[in-house]
Structure formats: C-alpha cells, structure tokens
Symmetry: C2
Subunit: 343 residues, 2 copies
C-alpha cells in the first residue's frame, strides 16, 4: 500500500503492482509538462503556475469532472486501453470548451478490483497523448485498488479538467435569437455515450465482425476515441470578435438534452431530420435495437459531437474559418427551451 | 440517461434515480457557493471567478485527486453515507494544505452499479458540509451508474480539489535541517487508510460492539470522518512569517512513506516510539492482526494525521499559536531520506 494522496500515487493492497504502474506512466505524464508545472509526479498535489492568468483581464476558472461510462467494459473486452485515456481527456476538454475555456490541466482517477500495471500505464499514456495534443498538463492522478467494490477484471476511469476563459468571452453569449443557425461538427463515433445500450445490442456479435455498411471491424467503429474539438475551433477563438454565440457538446442525452442547456428561455431548436446525415453505425444501432429516431437522438450524438450556434450572417465566415466542414443542421425558433425534430 | 458531463449531472441507465439524486443534492451544493461561483449546478462546467488570484503576487494552483478507498464498504455496511462525504473532502484539503495551499473548489465523482438517490444525496451533503467548513465551493461533480463494473450494492467516491498558494509561501521550505522538530496533530481515527486490512480483521465483529478500551461502538471508532487540519493551521498561516518548514499528511503508507516525501536528501526523521502516544484503537488493530509496530506505522497514521516540521527555536511559539495540542514526536537527523522508528 503506497500513499494515496498525490500527483501520481497508487493506493491499494498491492504495493508492487502500484509502483510498477507509476513507473511505467511517469515518462508519459512528464511529457505533458510545460514550464508552468512546478511539481507533478510524486508530490502531494500538482503545482501549476497561475502567472499567466494575471495577464488576463478577468480570468474565470472552468472545471468539470466526468467518467467514460461503460465504454470501459467494451475497451477491456477488446484490449484497447489507450483509447480510453483519449476518451476521458477529450470528453472533459469538450465540456469546458462549451463555455469558451481552454484547458490548463487534467487529473485522473483509475480504479479497479485489482490493478493491472500494463493496462493502467496504457490508459494513462492515452491520457498523456490527448493532453499533449491540447497543450494541457496531466498534473496528477490516483490509481486505486478496491477488491470487492469493483467486479473482477472491471475498472473505472474518471477525470477532472480545469481550464480558463476571459469573463467577457464566456459562452453561451446572451444574444441568442430566433433565426440563429445550428452548425454541426462530425463525431468520430458514439464518443462515450450510449455504451450500456450498445453493449446489450451487440452482446452476441464478435468485435471483429465487419458489417458491410461500416466497412471496418465493429471494434474500430465502436471504440474510436472521443474527438476533441479544441483545435478545430481555435481559429475562431483566436480573433478579437467572437462569431460563435453558443456551443453544445452532445454527450449522454444527445442533442435533445444537451442543446437546451445552452438555450435561453423562449427559444427552441428546430432540426429537420432530412438535413441531418446520420452515419451508418447509428442506423445499424437503431435497427438492432428497434428504436425510434427520437430515442436515438436522446441517447446518441447521431454523428455530430459538437454544435455551434451562429448568427445567420456569420455562417459563411464561420464555415470558411474552420479546418473541417460544419454542416447546417437547423435553426433557433421561438418556443419552449427544447429541441423539435422535424420529419 | 441524462447528460454526463457537467457540474452536477447524472449519467447511467436510470434517468429518474439520477434526477432525484441531483434534486436532493442541489440545495446542499448551492450552500457552498460564494460570489466567486459564476455557474454551478446544471452547467457543462463549473465557473469560478479567479479575480482574487490577481491580487496575489505569484499565485500557484495546487490540485489533487483522491479516493476514500474501501472505507466506503464499511460506511455502506453501517449505513453512514454522509461521513464519506466529509472523508473525501477533508482528505483532499489536507493534501494540498501540505503544500501551503488553501482550497478554492472541489469536484466529486460518485459511481455505483445502481444509483441510490438517498445515499448519493447523503454523500454529497457530507461533502457540502465539509466544503462549507473550509470555505471551499463544491463546484461540480458526476454521478455514474455502471452496472457490471461495480459489484452489486458497492460504490466508489473520488474527488478533486483545486487550491492556491503564493509561490513564496509554498511548502516544504528549502531550509529543513538536522535538529528540526516533528510536531503531531491528532487524527480522528484511521481517517481513510488501512480499511482493507481493518475490514478483514473485524469481519466477524458486529459494528455495534463496544470494546472496553474504546468505550464507543466499533462503527463510531472506525468511521469517524477524516479530519481537516485547515482551520487548525490557519492561525500560523495568517502571519507574515512562516514558522512551519514542512507539513506531511499521513495517509496510506503512514509516517514511514509520507514524511520522507517532504524531506530533502541527507535528512532522516528519528522518531522514538516511547514519545508517540498510540491511541487504543491502533493497539486493538495491531493485536488482532498480529502486526509489527513497523507494519502498523506503514499502514496507519497511528493517531496523528498531520506532522509539522519546525525549527527547534519556534516549537514553543507554534504550539502556543495553535488551537489544539501539537505533540513533539521526533526530530530530523542526518541520514538517508527515511523514517527511523527508535524503540
């Protein structure tokens, strides 16, 4: 049992397994450090120099904790641990990006009945890679062995991100209006939501099955890491003007539950299903589950992981300024704070 | 399945249970908000106004993630969920206090196979109470239902704290020297460490058993919440001088593994066991487990949850400045970075 309370420690009953995991992940973790990390691996808490916040006019810290849900079970089944690290970091990055924030640092929590050092190191390596891509420090974490709490061979992964935004650049803006346009950025797959359902629907299907409409093994389609939209949106955020009025991250609850969270009272989103290109994987899921389209939109991102709300006059400029397509998916209309799927 | 990625959301398979838990805990969470909390319950990420960091000379953010380990199993057995909330928050507060930081905000993660809204609300209420006592905002959290990952009726609790310290007031200081004195602050019990062992040793003992040497039911002795030392040390930190050279939080690994983490090379801690008053509970544990005193000091805090390292000339003033006894437990001597228990 090693200490449980610090930037990269392991607690639990097997000292050696914990220490091996810590050693394996140390190099990966340190690869995320910039000069602002004053202490990380081995200290009681990670230290992050907040000096650059002082050059901001009115910095606001934005923080979020999340888990990856039961996608961990599918990942374990397929032996793909590194991708889970990408999942949790990118999920968290997107959550605070919704409020206009860029990430400063991330801390993780990995727990299981019995620590497998190789698996933990792979998960943390994935986290470190995702952090590096985002310019975010992997400042600390905790790995815990809790026999009896977790089912044998199962594990859980959670993470906390802290970022910062200028108070005046916080999103959503307050000027959302009827007529504003919804633009969608493509998802890489179901991201980290709907996996309890997915696992049930595909329980009897080998993960190397290649469905003709997918053209790739089922494991690849289902375990594609959650995308981060940070770099995609960076060109828009760099300028003095803020053309994006609001952002939504389509996680659990899909468009139906997530978009209204950034809408003011008096506005609905009208989304014609004819304009929404649903990727083949979601058709496959819907067919196997015998689900309605409304149910699908309430569980899955349906192919778009991030939604931008933009004034009609800014749509062309925003689309031109992004490094990838942003598809017009609908618009805001007067109404209750909800999503109307129009068939 | 509600959204999974925000300040107080619930994810999982049972929408209603999740939403009930969120409703029950909302009031408790909001009771921790000061004016610096710009957004909490219901938003994608919690927003914390960092304006007051700008009045600091060189603010350093200090962050730590931790879990409460298998104490959760004992708490569940005794039906004491609220105390687990105190445990995780106070554990995290102490971890960053070691580096001289005071807490700004906390985020939690509570996961189980099946969410019990009442239990989750009790846990979060405990967290909120501990946060209020520390002037710390409970800025966000995540509750997750993960059937299959967790054993039936089991749950896990983790948390992340973010605090701040002036760069010049960071601990440990760099002037630790042979002759410096170790002062101990009393623990309230085993805090959050050693519970896998405790549970094994007392597996066949009813939790309402009153051992004569304890004088209280076993459940009370074993489940006393982890203390926070923030308010105890505040009088010392308020002054312009910094009389404390280093602090150690005795979590998993006990004195043996935690104190060396704040020692520089070339210094050992010499601790005469004759000077260390071991509380009856730890004698009881040692007897039942047939453990050596070294093993005990490597697993448990042995009655002192926090250690202060102070120059010999400052001992009297530090003791006088604290609201409770600080016991002399040993001193620093030349040697390898370790603890020597002297019998």
């Amino acid at each position: 049992m090693t200490s449980s309370s610090n930037a990269y420690a392991a607690s639990g009953v097997d000292i050696d397994a914990g220490n091996r995991a810590v050693a394996l992940m140390t190099a990966a973790v340190q690869s995320t450090y910039g000069p602002e990390v004053l202490a990380g691996v081995g200290s009681f808490g990670g230290l992050y120099d907040a000096g650059r916040l002082q050059s901001m006019t009115a910095p606001v810290l934005v923080a979020s904790t999340d888990g990856v849900g039961t996608k961990v079970r599918l990942a374990a089944q397929a032996g793909r641990y590194e991708s889970i690290g990408h999942d949790i970091v990118n999920h968290c990055i997107n959550d605070i990006l919704v409020q206009g924030a860029r990430p400063l640092f991330f801390l993780d929590y990995v727990a299981s009945a019995r620590l497998n050092p190789g698996h933990v190191a792979a998960i943390v390596s994935g986290m470190a890679a995702a952090c590096r891509q985002a310019g975010c420090a992997l400042l600390g974490g905790e790995t815990a062995e809790m026999p009896g709490v977790y089912s044998p061979n199962e594990f859980d992964v959670a993470g906390t991100i802290v970022g910062v935004v200028e108070r005046s650049r916080r999103l959503p803006r307050t000027d959302l209006a009827a007529g504003d346009v919804l633009l969608g950025l493509a998802a890489s797959g179901p991201h980290t939501n709907g996996y309890s359902l997915i696992r049930r629907l595909f329980a009897d299907v080998p993960l190397d099955t290649v469905y003709p409409e997918l053209g790739i093994p089922l494991a690849d389609a289902l375990l594609a890491p959650h995308r981060s939209y940070l770099r995609v949106l960076e060109p828009l955020q760099a300028g003095p003007a803020q053309p994006v009025k609001a952002l939504a991250h389509l996680t659990g609850g899909g468009l139906i539950e997530n978009l209204p969270r950034v809408l003011p009272g008096g506005l609905s989103a009208a989304v014609p299903l004819t304009d929404w290109p649903v990727p083949p994987l979601f058709h496959l899921i819907q067919r196997r589950g015998g689900l309605t389209i409304e149910e699908m939109f309430r569980v899955f991102n349906m192919g778009f992981g991030f939604i931008l709300v933009v004034a009609p006059g800014d749509v062309a400029a925003v689309q031109a300024g992004l490094p990838e397509p942003a598809i017009v998916l609908g618009k805001l209309v007067p109404g209750a704070r909800m999503v109307q799927l129009l068939s």
